[in-house]
């Protein structure tokens, strides 16, 4: 399920964080689903368990997952987190870059909007309550 690129400059724990988030967003992991135990995932991917632990801690800090003592780690039921201004700024920069790329590929503003809608739909997130 997770595909780690050991050559990447992106730290391994960060890759785990991003891929779990992507899996939740795409619906491959649903709220309440149990994540593999640290030991199991570490062994499966042959990765240092402390790295997995660090990734889980980060995911928990972000509110994506919750750990229930003695029961395991689960995808959070209600994801309610407000991004801080720094994160929002980083996101804007991200989008801005994408929009510039799109512009130079010859896409009109309308087409860019359409593309964003399409991507949101792909993950079944359109029309959902804004607070989700």
């Amino acid at each position: 399920m997770l595909d780690i690129d050991f050559k990447s400059d992106n730290p391994i724990y960060q890759q785990v964080v991003e891929q779990v988030r992507a899996a939740v967003f795409k619906g491959a992991l649903s709220p309440g689903d149990r994540l593999p135990a640290v030991r199991k995932l570490a062994t499966k991917l042959t990765i240092n368990p402390n790295t997995i632990q660090k990734a889980y801690q980060e995911l928990e800090r972000q509110g994506v997952i919750v750990t229930v003592r003695g029961r395991g780690t689960f995808v959070a039921e209600d994801y309610t987190r407000t991004a801080d201004s720094g994160e929002l700024e980083a996101l804007r920069a991200h989008f801005r870059k994408g929009i510039i790329d799109a512009h130079y590929m010859g896409l009109s503003p309308g087409e860019i909007e359409e593309l964003v809608q399409e991507l949101l739909q792909e993950h079944g997130h359109t029309g959902r309550d804004e607070s989700c």
């Binding site: 050991f6 570490a42 042959t46 990765i47 402390n50």
Partner: protein, 290 residues
């Protein structure tokens, strides 16, 4: 915690270790990388107590590893040479270990034997090198060590077994919090399983730290200059490695190299990923290393 302080060891007139300092906290895996003949094995042998250091101190949880019998019970060692009694059968050796180590876990042994498939009625003398390596690994994990010293544990093993060995190491650390000190010439392997790595060169620790931190300390770029490479780049102390293909240079250096490059005229500048292996090669063996 494993604490190695100012460790010195000489053979005849050759100083092999010249003041090694290392610390390793419980439940972590430290990888040691270094060219052959630079003291990796000597260091590990000193830690286990096979060699007596000339100077310096090695303690595990405050116990002196050289003298404490109690400490020896909880330390496993998989060395490069596996000098087991050749006339012993595998099962005899297992019994010998079982009697010697109070924490021997037979369940664990059975489980691992299922993975590595060693014939227990075979005599040691008839085992191949790779089989002996697996046997040493299996025995030393079955004594349930708190500290496990591994000297090139995967060398001479086929890729499938190699992968199993790494998997078992990771699993053991996750399950039992086993601390491991492992030497290897395979940077790719260490990168996966280690918390931190140390480069050893000329009997000293040349570089050490958590992997991510080491990576952050170096940078690799592809760059095209407006003309020749400016002298302030070519001569700067942060530059470790240069390769040229037409107008394009591949440079590797310490992180400040990036800002130095941004300060000069470039036609093209693209940072590229650096693996531990890259860092190792450029840092230890690069044409213009320190």
């Amino acid at each position: 915690m494993l604490k190695i302080e100012n460790l010195h060891k000489a053979f005849d007139t050759t100083d092999v270790l010249r003041g090694v300092d290392l610390q390793l906290s419980e439940g972590t895996i430290l990888g040691i990388l270094g060219p052959n003949g630079m003291g990796k094995t000597t260091l590990l042998k000193c830690v286990v107590g096979i060699l007596e250091p000339d100077r310096g101190k090695i303690t595990w949880e405050g116990m002196n590893l050289l003298t404490s019998v109690e400490a020896k019970y909880c330390v496993g060692y998989v060395g490069e040479q596996r000098n087991y009694y050749p006339r012993f059968r595998v099962e005899d050796l297992v019994r010998f270990y079982r009697m010697s180590y109070p924490n021997w876990d037979h369940e664990q042994y059975r489980r691992l034997q299922g993975i590595f498939e060693l014939p227990s009625e075979q005599r040691i003398a008839n085992l191949s090198r790779g089989m002996k390596a697996q046997l040493a690994f299996l025995l030393n994990l079955s004594i349930m060590p708190d500290l496990l010293i591994l000297d090139e544990p995967t060398s001479g093993l086929d890729p499938a077994v190699r992968k199993e060995v790494l998997r078992v190491m990771v699993d053991q650390t996750a399950a039992c919090g086993t601390t491991m000190l492992v030497s290897s010439n395979n940077a790719g392997e260490l990168e996966r399983i280690c918390d931190a790595v140390a480069f050893i060169r000329d009997g000293e620790i040349a570089l050490q730290g958590p992997l991510e931190e080491l990576r952050r300390r170096f940078a690799a770029v592809h760059v095209i200059f407006d003309g020749e490479m400016p002298a302030e780049i070519a001569d700067c102390c942060d530059l470790l490695y240069v390769e040229r293909l037409g107008r394009m240079y591949a440079l590797v250096g310490r992180r400040p190299l990036l800002s130095r490059l941004q300060a000069v005229d470039t036609v093209y500048l693209e940072p590229v990923d650096t693996s531990l292996e890259d860092i190792y090669i450029y840092y230890m063996e690069g044409p213009n290393h320190e």
